[in-house]
Structure formats: C-alpha cells, structure tokens
Amino acid sequence: MSIVKKYLESIYGKSVNDIFLSGREGYWHNLSKSENNEFFKILEKKGCRDAVKSFMPKFEEMIFSPKREAALELFEHDNSGVCIDYGSMWGVLSAGMAKRGHQVISVDQTHDSLKFLKSRSLEEGLDNIYLVQEDLREIKFKNIADYAIINGVLEWIPEKSEVIAAEYQKKPNSKINLYKKNILKDPREMQVEFLKKVYQSLKQGGQLLLAIENKLSYSYILGRPDPHVNLKFTTFLPRFVSNIISRIFRKKDYRTYVYSFSELKNLLREAGFNNIEDYCCFPMYHFPSLVLPNTKQGISQYVAYKDKNIVTWKQKLGLRYLEIFLMKYLKARNFSPAIIMIAKK
C-alpha cells in the first residue's frame, strides 16, 4: 500500500468508492446539483471527454486542456513527491501533476467533482491520484507534501455557502453571509488561517503554487467586473465600500478577497512562507500564455501573445493594445491581470 494511502487512512479511515470522506461536505461547482445528476447519467454511458462534449461543451477546454498546466512548469520537478491540490475541482492540475510523476492528493469539498476526477483518472490511466472530500478550512495534513497547489481557490475560502458559479454572480443566493455574519470570521483572517494549514502540510523545502486574480489588474480598474461577484470596482475599492456595494446589489457581504502583489506576499509571510517568487501572469491564470517574474528585468521580456477571447476592435483597443502599452512601454507590472506565486517552506 502506498505511503500516501496509509497516511490518508490514518486521518479519514477507509475510503468509500476510492474517495476519503471527512464527513464535512460543501458545494462549489459550475453546475447545479440536478445538472450534475444528469451529467453523471451520461458519464456512465460515455467516457469523460465525450460526456463533457455532449453535456457541457463550453467547459471542455477548461476541464481537459493541458495549456492550463503551464504554471506547474514553475515548480522544480527534479524528484517525484507528494502534491496536494487544494480545491481540485475537475482535476486538470491534479492530472498534470500526476502525469509529471507525483503522488497527488486532490482535495475538494464537492463530492461530484471528485467522482468525476475518479472516472477521469481511471480513463487516463493515472493511478497516483488520491481523492479526499474535505472542507479546505478544516484540513489536518502535516509535513506530508512536497508540492501544494492553490489555483483560483484562496479567494473562495471565506465563502462558506453553497456556490453554483453562474448563479452566485447573479442572484443573492447566499444570505448566510449577511444574516449569520457573526459566525463567520473576517475573510482575510480565514485566508491566512488556511494558508497556515497549507504551510503545515508541506515538508521543509516544499513548494506552494498560488494563482489568483490581481486586484489591481488594469482591466478591473477600467471597469471589467470582479469575476467572483460580477460587480465593478469591488476588487480594489476599500473593503468596506465593496461590502456596501455587495450588500446593495447582491444582498450579501463581500467576501471573495483578492489582493495586490505586495498584499499577497504579506499574506504568505504571515502564514510562515519566507522564500517567495512572484510572477505576472497574462492573460489570466486559468489559461496562461505568458508568465514573467515580477521584476524590472522580468517585465522587460513581455511580448504580445494571442488571446482568443479578444476578438472585437473594442477589445483589441481597450485590452490588448492597452496591455502592450502598459507592460511593454510603461513596465507597469503591478497592474498585470493575474498573480502566480511560488512560495517555499
């Protein structure tokens, strides 16, 4: 039996259908529960990719594209080790690390995501992925991991209600935040606590890959809505102002905090990390095309790249050319769209 499996059994007991269960479940998904039920009926008849293609083609690239693995190349992969993918969802990065020869622990609060990842691992012949259903805020791993991944997850840590991504941005579906406010801690405090637990899960010398939107991204300053709550300017306004805006338009508190480069570094330092490399990511961490060190020399390597989401002239003028001007000529790296950090324990 592998060491990882033994370790997980020591925490969670025997797995059920190859998923270790903590008893703490939640729901964060792009599909509703009923949509997921329908999807799994199709998945039983077809393979993962075909099922995704027929049921939710718009997510095919998001789920399967190896382009999404780019940031994993920032890790040193000299030795095979143990990797914990926090908030693994459909498992594109878990699969990426497994392909690179590591033992991967994929942790997610949503059982449906893990069920999908189980089918995917079987289909792709990846027998080095271990699935854990757990509330990320409650993890208890200690000195087990050589690598940790937090990709688009940190900002959701303070959000305890169920999230169906598309609905979350539209409707006030999580009144828990407003009315049970007293039971929820400050979002930043919750994020630091989570990062401390991630720090503890790493071995000495272990590396964390953290990817998140930059709150000062030029596109948010220009009025592109905060992708988490679909509200303009909330990423960078003072938190209490964002909170008022969110209470008016979303009937809930603003909790999905994102950060600037320096703020995020401070967060990581508070959690115990001291060796931190930060990178400017273009056009977004979900599908990186260009990842440059956040230094003068780093940003001097900026080159224009193809972004298939930029099609119209308005987008070209407002985003592509502006980005080229800001990065190539003004070297305004602190306004880059997304942040990737590699932090070592």
């Binding site: 382009k67 392909k99 260009l290």
Partner: protein, 249 residues
C-alpha cells in the same frame, strides 16, 4: 531568471520556458516540456533533429532530457554563446544577407543529400527565431521540433519555404511583388539547384510545386498548416514568381 515565454504556441502543444542570466539577460537555457502526445512527439523530434544536425554542424547544440516519462517529457537545451537572432524586418532586401548565409549553411549541412529527391526536413527554417547568427557570420539552425527524417519531403523545401516567408512579409508591407525581391528569390533557388539540393519534384514551377506538396501533406505541419505564408499567396502571385524563376533558371 526563469519565465514561461509561450504555451502551446501555434498549436505546438509544448510549454516554452526561458532561463536567462539575471544581470546580463543573456539566454542560458531553453526548456521545452509537454504532457500531451503531440507535444511529447515534438520534443522527441527536437532531440532527433539536434542529433542529426550536430553530426554535420561545426557549432553543436547541447541538450539533456530532464524528464522522460510516459506522460511527460522535458528537454533542456543550452543556448550557444555568441549566437543571436536578428530582429524581425519585413523588408526582404534588408535581410538579404541573412538569407544568403542561411542558404549557404543549408548547402553545407545537407551536402550528403545532393541529387536526392528527398531529404531530412527541419520544418521551420525561419529568420524569426529559428536561424541564429554570430559576429563571424556563422549560422546555427535551432528549434528542431518539426524535424522529420522519415517522411518523404523534397530536398530544398526548407529553403523555398524560408524564401516565401520573407517574400510574404515584404509583399504584405508593400502590397506588390518587387522585381528585385523576386529576382533574389529566383537567384537563391538557382543557387540551390546548382548545389544539387533542389529536388526534381520542385524543379519545374518550384513555388506551385511547393504549394501543391504542402496541400497534399498537411499532416506534416499539423495545426500550424493554416499559418504557412505560402498559402496566403494567390494563384496569380505564385505563377508570377514561378515565371521569373523559370527565366533565371
């Protein structure tokens, strides 16, 4: 300083990382990696191409496989000191010297294939990035991920494609076919022919033959097929170039 320069660019399915000296910003290593089948095949081709090239080239390229696994390949190529890329220049006549140097180098490296109908294929000999020069006007062919030594590719095709790429940039800039430029293309093909490195398959109407070969063998270029400059020329353009070449040949 390490950074990710491109991700699956032009459908290559590889990640391209560059390692530079922090102070001088001189490139130290080029790292390519992939977890997809096509990407892994590209990396294997890269190594095969470099091995083939190193036998004949004065300047060798050194590399190591950092990872060679079932689902993951990672190759680290050391940059050759003193070699540089020229800056993109759409004016054909401004890069004429570099085209001549590249053709001479091709003739040296492919010398064993004189008179052969088919020859090993670099697949992307382009002044933009894949041909490097040094102060002594030596040439280095890099980026061998399209290398093919099995498929029957007509000898000289690499050079015709190089010439057409630069002709296309010039045409795109001026919106006309300059006589000086077409003459240089024709003379270059004549040079190739004189060196017996123009396949008989390309001798008659070299540009149209190249066009037809590419169209019949799209798989060689995979997803990059649609980006090939020759496909952007009209039939009339192609005939015009071929006519001039025929006069000179």
């Amino acid at each position: 300083m390490k950074y990710i320069k491109s991700v699956h660019r032009h459908g290559s399915e590889t990640f391209l990382l560059i390692v530079k000296d922090k102070k001088s910003l001189e490139t130290k290593n080029i790292i390519k990696s992939s977890t997809s089948e096509n990407g892994i095949n590209s990396i294997k081709s890269e190594a095969d191409g470099i091995d083939w090239y190193n036998i004949l080239s004065k300047n060798k390229i050194s590399y190591i496989f950092e990872k060679k696994m079932k689902n993951y390949y990672r190759i680290k190529i050391n940059a050759n000191k003193g070699f540089y890329n020229i800056i993109f220049n759409p004016n054909y006549l401004n890069v004429k010297k570099y085209l001549d140097l590249t053709i001479s180098h091709y003739i040296k490296i492919w010398k064993d294939y004189k008179g052969h109908e088919f020859a090993p294929f670099h697949g992307d000999i382009s002044l933009i990035g894949n041909v490097m020069f040094n102060k002594a006007d030596e040439v280095l062919f890099v980026d061998w991920e399209h290398f093919d030594n099995n498929f029957k590719v007509p000898t000289g095709l690499d050079i015709i494609m190089l010439l057409l790429e630069n002709l296309f940039h010039d045409y795109n800039r001026t919106k006309k076919m300059s006589d000086n430029v077409i003459n240089h293309v024709a003379i270059s093909i004549k040079t190739l022919n004189a060196a017996k490195l123009l396949s008989p398959l390309l001798f008659k109407n070299p540009i149209m033959s190249t066009f037809n070969f590419i169209n019949l063998n799209r798989d060689i270029w995979n997803k990059q097929y649609s980006k090939l400059p020759i496909l952007k020329f009209t039939k009339k353009n192609i005939e015009q170039i071929d006519d001039t070449i025929l006069k000179i040949l």
